[in-house]
Symmetry: C2
Subunit: 146 residues, 2 copies
């Protein structure tokens, strides 16, 4: 209780928490051919299907190169499919397959389970407060032009 009072350990603790959270989800969804990095991508497509690679990469905070390889794998496991954009031949759009849509239902349940676990015993106002602090941090890290 008296050790680790420096802010560094807070980020270390955060990364540990996220690792456990991710692991909880992965345990549930692994049987559905979904790998640990894929839930954000599936959720993004379930909100708006047919995003381009660039849009999708931005939504899930990944680089295009990372996304390209992920989509390769997910195409192989039959979760998504690529279709060329009609107007711009540079653009490839990514769509959920039927299997992808079915699997996303289970992914959402898994996330719900993990979130209820990690935020259990939290008062609603504590969750709101936590959100406010995270948004403050995000703002702090935003590069300022001056």
């Amino acid at each position: 209780m008296s050790r680790h009072h420096n802010p560094e350990s807070l980020t270390h603790l955060m990364s540990h928490l996220l690792k456990m959270h991710r692991h909880t989800i992965d345990q549930i969804i692994h049987p559905y051919d979904v790998y640990p990095g894929q839930p954000p991508l599936l959720l993004a497509l379930s909100l708006e299907d047919g995003l381009s690679h660039s849009e999708l990469a931005a939504r899930i905070h990944n680089k295009r190169a990372t996304l390209s390889v992920m989509v390769d794998r997910m195409e192989k496991t039959g979760l998504v499919e690529r279709r060329p954009d009609e107007n711009d031949q540079r653009v490839t759009r990514v769509y959920l397959t039927e299997k992808g849509k079915e699997v996303t239902v289970h992914v959402k349940e898994a996330i719900k389970t993990a979130d209820e676990m990690i935020f259990s015993h939290f008062l609603p106002e504590e969750v709101l407060l936590f959100r406010r602090l995270l948004l403050q941090m995000k703002d702090n890290l935003r590069p300022k032009e001056e």
Copy 2:
């Protein structure tokens, strides 16, 4: 402001924050031959040098296999060295080299810079509150035997 009210996005936001935090540190330490995953290992050794692989893996919340490969690389870049344990021939202990110790000074500064950035505009009691919430989450995720 009105979108993303579900807890899921909180973990997504956390992972985004950590990614930026890690990137901030990496920008500073990259010239010192330190790769983005290595700061926690260096800090652990600067607190207690000569840990075994198993101990070190536990401290930084990694698996032994992950650690083994990291130590390989860090031995190549001259940051750490392996020495066998005297009493137990199964055990290998990891020590900071002189270069490793020097570099760790810069790593600590980089972490300090990144932490001051991410926690700027935070009141001391907000940091404490944030810590309390994270510890609550950690406790929530601890597997209970019952």
